[in-house]
Symmetry: D2
Subunit: 351 residues, 4 copies
């Protein structure tokens, strides 16, 4: 097949953090990618393999980081750019790259929220490029496969939202839950905080520590509630409690909701199985099984289990994913694969 | 003061596990304890310091483990025995020791549940000594101080229940919450699983792993619901989601409940402050502050913070304790101090 | 190329432990392997994916564990068997499988030691199949490539030995070191202890613990000294200090030796570079660079750095590998690739 | 006893890092300390309990950090100051405080090296106060008890040096070892790197990572070789290999040396037992026993075991200590106790 030999010239903008390095790992090994540009303001001039000795054996790892300049990136022939930048910053370079004809897969929050007012409420500054919101597609591949394939600008979902949306959306679409009863408790590995010089994320501050944070209005609520409301067909709000726990990567979410009267566990199972038949990265564990992040770390899988708390009339959903793979870089590569007509699993099988 | 010089002859029955070794740590250093007997079926004959080199410098650490025999324990002159045994096993020796005139502080579940039917429902066997349930006191010192002081048989609360009950009871007593809306998400360190040769708790099975377990009907629900129902003045049920996370010790609970109409954050704070004024081991962090286990590990404190999720009308309570101290051995020593008229903090100040 | 399509029918005997599960991970994803039999006495009848949910998405993961019976394994058409069994046990089934015409790649210590007297000294029982020692090949692919390719019975090296031999052999062959001055300090992740129900390896016994063990005569000394003596051309003995440290996988070795008079750092570098030119899994970090296990975990690489301690006339070598990959399963697959004429890197590239 | 009621007015200069917070923990609970001043440039104005919620229950924890000004410190009536500052900075304030009549216990390297030339060689700048070197005493209480009791300026030993000197000094003094054969391999918890905003010590950079660093000439060699040379009665040099490993606190050292001809394991044991009889914080584990940091963390003990590697004629010593207690704050408090004529164990018993 001709497509199998195709190599897409690809850039990563902001490749020195944890999401960036996961993109490097995936794209340096992707059979259809020719990595032609990687940027980092602070590491410009250094080779990928110098910053990340883990990758020193991979072809392409001698590529040097460059400054994040849209013209320079376009000049490398890049057809697509992944952006692993802080929110607010991403929108600016996205605009410039789109204007130069590149596809853009943005891993920041900048294009996830349809309503610029909601963006401003949660991110505390006016949206930097509101006109682009109309064309951006929320990159949850299991839900928006066709839209992603046709898009120029993808907003890859946040790590927590992915772990909460995939278990819930099919159940809300099937009208099995009271949409106002949802409470999500999530635990994240420390890579979720990013690779920044902040004493709060030093080894000794996180090891042997369990803590909630970001209460009661974590930014990810904006996209979680947007997508859940779309699924429920009505505006809803949830309580979301994120925790920081001492693992490198991994997100575990335990989600409760009251079942609509008469809804059975079988209906829960059916709704999930119907939604994810043929979806290669969602693994349904079945009723009575709990998800465990150690089964999904460094993979693009999300595992989902469910329990009926018959005593209280609630369903308990548990999900496990790797926050930097399915919750970030891997999911972004899934969108890439769809955009370029590749096998959705290309570059993402490894377990 | 004369009391200050008093030394109470004390036994620990089942001193080789994680709860037992925490009791050893506390009691070997307690100013009013003369540890006269420690038992362990599998370690009988060995010195404490041989099994636990950490304690080798403490006076008394050359005491040898003996077989768990009630007559032999009584013969050492023990006035009181702490039991750190599996449920079902504890009741039998408790009965024998009480008959020999010892006070008993039991850390198993055997005497926590007032209703033997509920015990049987959750522990899957008939209660082994139902007649003792009438006189046993639930050893939550912040709630039952007077009853504990007068008791011969204390049922020290479970680790999870302590972390859930202390934040909630004052709010239910003050009628601030919808009692049917409570959901508790807890994370526990691996010591909570006990020191047993089970591959599920090997380092490599727990490190870099996040998982829920025991869904939907963990045994601790029995005592949690018993005590919350008493506080609420009506029968209630909650959803409880325990998780196993890679720390040695520490329990973090995040608890949500719907506020009764019109209830303010100030009322929440007042109820907690009124309940815990003068209680030395409850540290109220205040509104808007999250608890962190690293501030309480190896201490008998429980830290409690709270947030108002105004968007959904819920309160979010977070608590942090050390599961083997405040959640087990330390709390049991608190009861011991109350029984023998000692300062409640004796042997428990160290930070 | 015709070879590219070849699939070798392969068995894993003893596939339920940490080495076994790493072999499963590698062989289920190996492009030239058709996994036809996996055995486990205690898990017989269960599917691979039931025991290891991580692998549930891989083709072949529904294969069920069978009892370890040589006839039954041969009946599956297996051409080769990997043995991940305790020493002593491995020899017996190896003999039976060889008799049935299979190639055998044994990951135990049973065929590593040429001299049955040394085996008995270190393993405390007579060698169970001394006649096979003549034909077995020590599976250190960087040193015995040709012999491996021609062998029917491979003794895959131990995890510590691999990390110590690869840095030292080229320097001893080049006569750069005083062979009687070698001291190796190694740290291993807890997977090195195996997946056995032993309280010594519980999470709480290993986390926040640093300890040496196995002093002064760890079993791996037998093969280390055998191979170093061969490289030096004279009988030598070393001091070896293994440590258990709280990581899942990874071995780090720091090795010191006195330099022969006049030997320069450049000669050290040259000897290593000459030895490992074209060897795909040895990554020489250069002079002045320290190895770090986090750059090699879950890969088949070993990273090696070196320093000149000019003040004392010693060289300090540091190496890092993953104990269950390069130190066990991955290295065994390297031998497999050589035996079957495949690309040495087949199934082993992933980073 | 009158002394028992004495409370010494005490300051901590630089109390916001890991060593500083350990000093806070020890001194806030010390029965003879009245903590009257704590300084931190960046936290000035904040209460101790605000920065360290762990301490919020301790009397004195509402004391506010002040700027590090010698006059202001002296004005609080402080009789003694502990300095937990970077090298170079410590000397300046030490000079000023000594001039104001305070005793100074410095935890930096500034006063550990007798020879300012060696200081300059290892610390790369001229010694900031060479005249004070004559009167400063190296605060290794087990070796310099009398000198410490009489001193005004103590240089508390480094964390690694403590773990290496205590096992070796008695053996060198007894002339049992070849002094030129010593190699020390040490592993340190991440708190040893200090509480600084440096991405190298983020959780994800240290967790699941094993690495050596600081080769071949770590700064601690200066004081290690100074003290070992004094013990041996001749100038010696050692090879020292420090490693960073994923625990919060703890140092484990494994030290090898060639035994002088004819030296027996019994002589090793005798020399250690003679040296440490009556020394409360050195716990000799005996021949054939390995030290484990989990037995000493959060205590002021150092555990020492030894093995005879008869095959090579070497002794292997293992030691375990807590790097922020016996290796820093606790050891400094030991000196404090000696200076003020208190029980050497005051404030340091807790296990």
């Amino acid at each position: 097949m001709k497509m199998a030999m195709q190599r897409i010239k690809t850039a990563i903008v902001g490749a020195s953090g944890y999401t960036g390095s996961e993109l490097l790992r995936l794209l340096l090994q992707h059979p259809h990618v020719d990595l032609c540009a990687v940027t980092s303001r602070q590491e410009a001039g250094k080779a990928i393999s110098a910053l990340f000795p883990r990758f020193r054996s991979l072809p392409g790892a001698d590529l040097a980081f460059m400054e994040p300049d849209a013209d320079a990136i376009a000049a490398t022939g890049a057809q697509v750019a992944f952006l692993a930048l802080p929110h607010g910053v991403a929108a600016e370079i996205a605009t410039a790259l789109l204007a130069r004809g590149l596809k853009v897969i943005d891993l920041s929050a900048d294009f996830r929220i349809h309503d610029p007012g909601v963006y401003q409420e949660f991110y505390q500054h006016p949206h930097p490029a509101p006109e682009l919101l109309k064309s951006s597609v929320y990159g949850l591949a299991e839900m928006y496969e066709k839209e992603i394939a046709a898009a120029s600008l993808i907003a890859a979902p946040g790590c927590y939202p992915t772990s909460i949306l995939l278990p819930l959306i099919p159940l809300l679409r099937a009208n099995l839950l009271d949409p106002h009863s949802i409470i999500a408790n999530s635990m994240s590995g420390v890579s979720g905080a990013g690779k920044k010089a902040d004493t709060a994320y030093l080894f000794c501050e996180c090891n042997e520590s369990l803590r909630a944070y970001g209460l009661p209005k974590h930014r990810h609520l904006a996209e979680i509630e947007q997508e859940l409301s779309l699924a429920a067909g009505e505006k809803l709000r949830i309580t979301f409690i994120p925790h920081l726990v001492p693992v490198n990567t991994g997100i575990h979410s335990a989600i409760t909701a009251s079942l609509r009267a008469g809804v059975t566990l079988e209906q829960i199972g059916n709704a999930l199985e119907n939604a994810y038949a043929g979806k290669p990265f969602v693994r349904l564990l079945g009723a009575g099984v709990c998800a465990d992040t150690k089964n999904v770390t460094r993979t693009n899988f999300i595992d989902i289990g469910w329990h009926h708390d018959a005593r209280t009339g609630r369903v308990i959903l548990t999900s496990a994913e790797d926050n930097v793979v399915k919750g970030a870089g891997g999911q972004a590569v899934q969108s890439f694969n769809l955009i370029f007509g590749l096998d959705e699993k290309a570059g993402l099988h490894s377990v």
